[in-house]
Symmetry: C2
Subunit: 185 residues, 2 copies
């Protein structure tokens, strides 16, 4: 209580792996109390984006895909990675929505910024709400993407949340905020 | 639309690193469409827990600590790892709350189960709400833990959320659910 929390000092740093989809660093650090941790692992990622996209007639544009680490098919918000060719995270989110679902247009609002895990991940997640989107093209998927688009009602989305079927933390947070702000329960 | 999403086939698997705080696996996989990904990275972790702990007089027991990957001091829920010596995630959460804050007792409810990231992480996060906790001892921190305990009002917590200062996704999700369910906005 009243204790002042300070940053750690980095004594050394080396990369364990640098691949397109995984960059892991091992830092040697010293805590303010003097304790040294010779191996503190940090995962470096580019920023990520996701979007609560709602059509003019109030349907939520969701994507269903297989998630290999958990070994489950899951219903999710459209999401992706900020590419270096994107001007900003908003452009990344618009691009991902168009590529994964074929939906575009609408009025976009910065909804919240999250950290996947500030202890292990260097990146942030930029979450948007897009209102009034419409289908402007077909999906343009990479060979590695196997995605089914679903248009859900607000009631469907609230049902998925209250039944605990929307488990991805970076998506559950903006959706529960959406439920709270719009008083949907 | 109407497309059936299937699991991937694992053609091979090898560990890149197996350390107490980082276990990374590289799987070679085949998608239902036949596309092969020779390098798909999976991070294996034990399950995690966190808790929205509220005292008898309505104060939220929060912890402030430095998070090295993001490089920021952050205000968070009490959280931790399920140890193999814990009977179940509830015991893990009670143990972490006691160790990190000295608070215990109260009535515990399973609040939600999250996935940190189903594409990369094998584990789940078990979130609890504990009502009526009280200080029963002092903190018992590891040498690696530098944690300040804060007792916040519901208004303080809602303020942190609406100002975007509660960015850890696995904590923002249960807190926004708490706000929605208890109509705190």
């Amino acid at each position: 209580m009243g204790k002042h929390i300070e940053k750690w000092k980095v004594l050394g740093s080396r990369y364990l792996i640098k691949r397109p989809w995984l960059t892991a660093r091992c830092d040697s650090v010293e805590l303010p109390c003097g304790t040294r941790l010779p191996e503190y692992y940090v995962l470096e990622y580019p920023d990520w984006v996701n979007v609560i996209a709602v059509t003019r007639d109030g349907r939520f544009v969701m994507v269903e895909q297989y998630r290999h680490a958990l070994g489950e098919v899951s219903m999710e918000l459209c999401a992706g990675v900020c590419e270096s060719s994107d001007a900003d995270p908003l452009e990344s989110a618009r691009r991902e929505l168009l590529e994964e679902t074929g939906y575009g247009g609408g009025t976009w609002e910065e909804w919240m910024t999250l950290s996947p895990n500030p202890g292990t991940h260097t990146n942030l997640v930029h979450c948007y709400v897009a209102r009034g989107v419409e289908q402007v093209s077909t999906q343009h998927l990479d060979a590695t993407e196997d995605i089914a688009v679903h248009l859900l009602t607000a009631g469907d989305v609230v049902g998925l949340l209250t039944q605990g079927r929307m488990r991805q933390a970076m998506m559950a947070a903006p959706l529960w905020k959406y439920v709270a702000v719009n008083n949907l329960l």
